[in-house]
Amino acid sequence: MERKRDRLEIIYDILKTINNNQNKIKSTPLLRKSNLSTKRFSGYVQELIEKEFIKEVGIKNEKHFYLTDKGFAYLEKYKNIVSFIEDFGL
């Protein structure tokens, strides 16, 4: 049985997927690759846009998601964050 991903890991996976796609991806492939239900995916994307980790650019069917500087910073620091949380038992 696969282990349940926690919130920080899901965010990391979404951001990493965008980054691995030359920092430009449409909503449908991102949803597919994120391995989340549509409802949870929308919630996470909304949160990431509000917190300025990603931005959505374009119109109608030509909308793409891009990482912002904050999104890149999260990817860069993710391992340290996880190690901090685990080592301090948070």
Binding site: L8, N80, I81, F84, E86, F88
Partner: protein, 224 residues
Amino acid sequence: MSPQQFFMPEFQVEIIYSFILILSSLMIYAKTKEMYNLTADKGIKYFRESFLFFAIAFFSRFVIMFLFTLFGISKIFDFSSRIISLASSILFIYTSTIAIFYLFYSMTWKKWDENSKKVIYIHLITAIIVLLVILTRNGFVLFASQLILSLITLGIVFNRYLNSKNKKAMRGNLIIYTLLFIFWTFNTIQLFVPAFLGTFKILVYLISIGAFLAIFYEVIKRTG
């Protein structure tokens, strides 16, 4: 109080001790800001706020020590004549208890219902402890409640250590937390019974500083 008393080695030790602990607590709070901004993780939130409360607690502890040097211990709980003493005492009891509660909550928040308002209960329990200590004028209530809370938190840390995949990394933090709680307890007792530590005071102060600096080091190792 003569101005010479402020230049006594004992008073200078208190100033240096308080300064280092307040500064290291504030640095832990500041250094974890970016990590919290990136994640909005509740564990990180309560961990860092715990050290903010430790900083305030050490500041109020210093004010109480200062007033004790100025007026003597009997006046610390003299409500009518020493408003600052009372305010500092309440601030110390409140923030020092909340600091331990928050450290406890930072490790256990996932076990609770995420949407509930457990933090309000933490503040309510702390307010009751403050009232009990002030009304009974008995520091033992504070000592006992903080000791119980510290032991439960240590139990959780120890349990995490036993179940951790990376025991090596957690072992250091288990030792640090143990030292922090033991010496925090000594700090609390010493406030109400100044002669408690006797000749071991400097040693206790050094180990307390060591525990806080060790946590600060562990934090900057991961935050840069």
